[in-house]
Every structure is written in structure tokens, then in C-alpha cells.
Subunit: 110 residues, 2 copies
DNA sequence: ATTCTTTATCGTAATATTGCAATATTAAAT
DNA sequence: ATTTAATATTGCAATATTACGATAAAGAAT
């Protein structure tokens, strides 16, 4: 085997898992943080910011894009990447919600 | 290759990536959600709740445990698993913070 | 003591991820 | 038209993940 049995889980569970998985690598966390740090999102210099070769960075960007975490528009011979606000909101609410639910059942647990 | 160059990134970036990676599978999302749904955290029936074989579930639990997302105490011949509140708080604040930072730079972006 | 129940580990096969050199692509600049 | 600059794709090797059958381990129940 090796492939995930995604069809046995709910759409919501798969959605969150896809987002989490895409963020499950320090290089991709670093990319997200860099995209937020720079003011404009014309980001031709992401490669210089990371300790990885250009093809590797390109691949990480592709994965973030496939997961829907970043959006990219071609602009001349550079690409304008930026983080999708809706997705970040989704993650924020998901974990916010989980945390709230945990607080409400304090005491029943270890 | 195949291994991540974790030593080239900050501790914080690695920390978040490890948590995200551990949540990057629908089965593990389902496990977290189930642990929150049940009131008590004596959870001998996680296996029945998931469309996966017992060794597979055990392996997913181990991964969540290694990442520090769940804590488990042996209790007789069952195991008491529960979600670590501190970790969930960490995720909540991380994504909350990112979202806030995004809102503040609205307009500069695509 | 033996059986039952529950969780963990081992071994293994299938597939996915990570990383990079080499090469391609594409548009701007000369 | 050529060169330059930036990003993408291909191909490949190393490693990691996913899944499960078989088996082990360990306390509970009879």
C-alpha cells in the first residue's frame, strides 16, 4: 500500500489534512512566513531566502499551490505569489474551535 | 535524498512543521476529532471508529504521540489518550497570528 | 491457569516525499 | 535575433509514509 484511504473520511477531514500536510515541512512554513514578511507579494527572491536549490523551492511552492494555500499570478518573468486569506482563516477557525472545545471539557480528561 | 533539511530552519519553523505534518492525514484528524467528541478520554474504541485496521490506527496514534499532539497513559489493559491542550493552543495562536498579519497588509497583495 | 480483550511491534509491499542536477520554458533586455 | 534572468519540469536516487497480516505483550475475566 502506501496511499491514504482518503475516500473513507469526510470531506472536511480531508480538507484540513491536505492543508496541514502542505504545511508539514519547515521549508514551506518558511515560505509562508517570508510571503507575509515582505510587503508586496512579487516574490522573485524566495529562492535566495531559503537554504535549498531552486528546483526544490519551486517544488515546495507547487505543493503549497496545489493545496490552495498560496495563489500565484505570472507577472512578466517573475511570479507573484501570495497566501490565500480564506485558507488561513479556515485553519485559524479550525484550531480555534478545537481549542475552545477542549477548554469546555476540562476536568474530564488526563 | 528524501530527508528534510530540518537543521537549516528555525526551531519554531520546525516545531510548527512537525505539528502540521502529524495532522496531515485524514485518519489523524479523525482521531483528534473523536478524542474531543467523547467526553471521557478512555478510548478503547478508536479502532471501531476508523475505517482502518488496528495496527494502522496504532501507528497513527504513535505518530500523534511522537509529535506531542496527544498524551497517553496506560490504564489497565486500555490506554487513556487525550489531546494536549498546549499544543492546540500553539496551533491556534500560530494561525491566528498569521491571519491577523494578513489582514493588516490587505491591498498590497493580489 | 487459561482464555479474552486490547494495544503494540515486526515485517513487508506499495506508494509518496524530498532534494538536486540538468534541461526547458518564457518573457524582458540588449 | 541573442542574451539574460527567473521559474518550471524532468529524471533519478535516497528516504519516509501508509497499510496490514502475523505475532507479541499484558492486564482482566472466567
Amino acid at each position: 500500500m502506501g496511499a491514504s484511504k482518503t475516500d473513507h473520511f469526510t470531506d472536511r477531514q480531508n480538507e484540513i489534512a491536505i492543508l496541514a500536510k502542505a504545511l508539514g515541512h519547515p521549508a514551506r512554513i518558511a515560505i509562508i512566513e517570508y510571503l507575509l514578511k515582505v510587503d508586496t507579494c512579487i516574490c522573485g527572491d524566495i529562492v535566495n531566502e531559503l537554504p535549498l536549490a531552486q528546483p526544490t523551492v519551486s517544488q515546495h511552492l507547487k505543493e503549497l499551490k496545489n493545496a490552495g494555500i498560496i495563489k500565484g499570478d505570472i507577472e512578466g518573468n517573475t511570479v507573484c505569489y501570495c497566501v490565500d486569506e480564506k485558507v488561513m482563516h479556515k485553519l485559524k477557525s479550525y484550531f480555534g474551535n478545537i481549542f475552545t472545545r477542549m477548554e469546555n471539557k476540562k476536568g474530564n480528561c488526563c
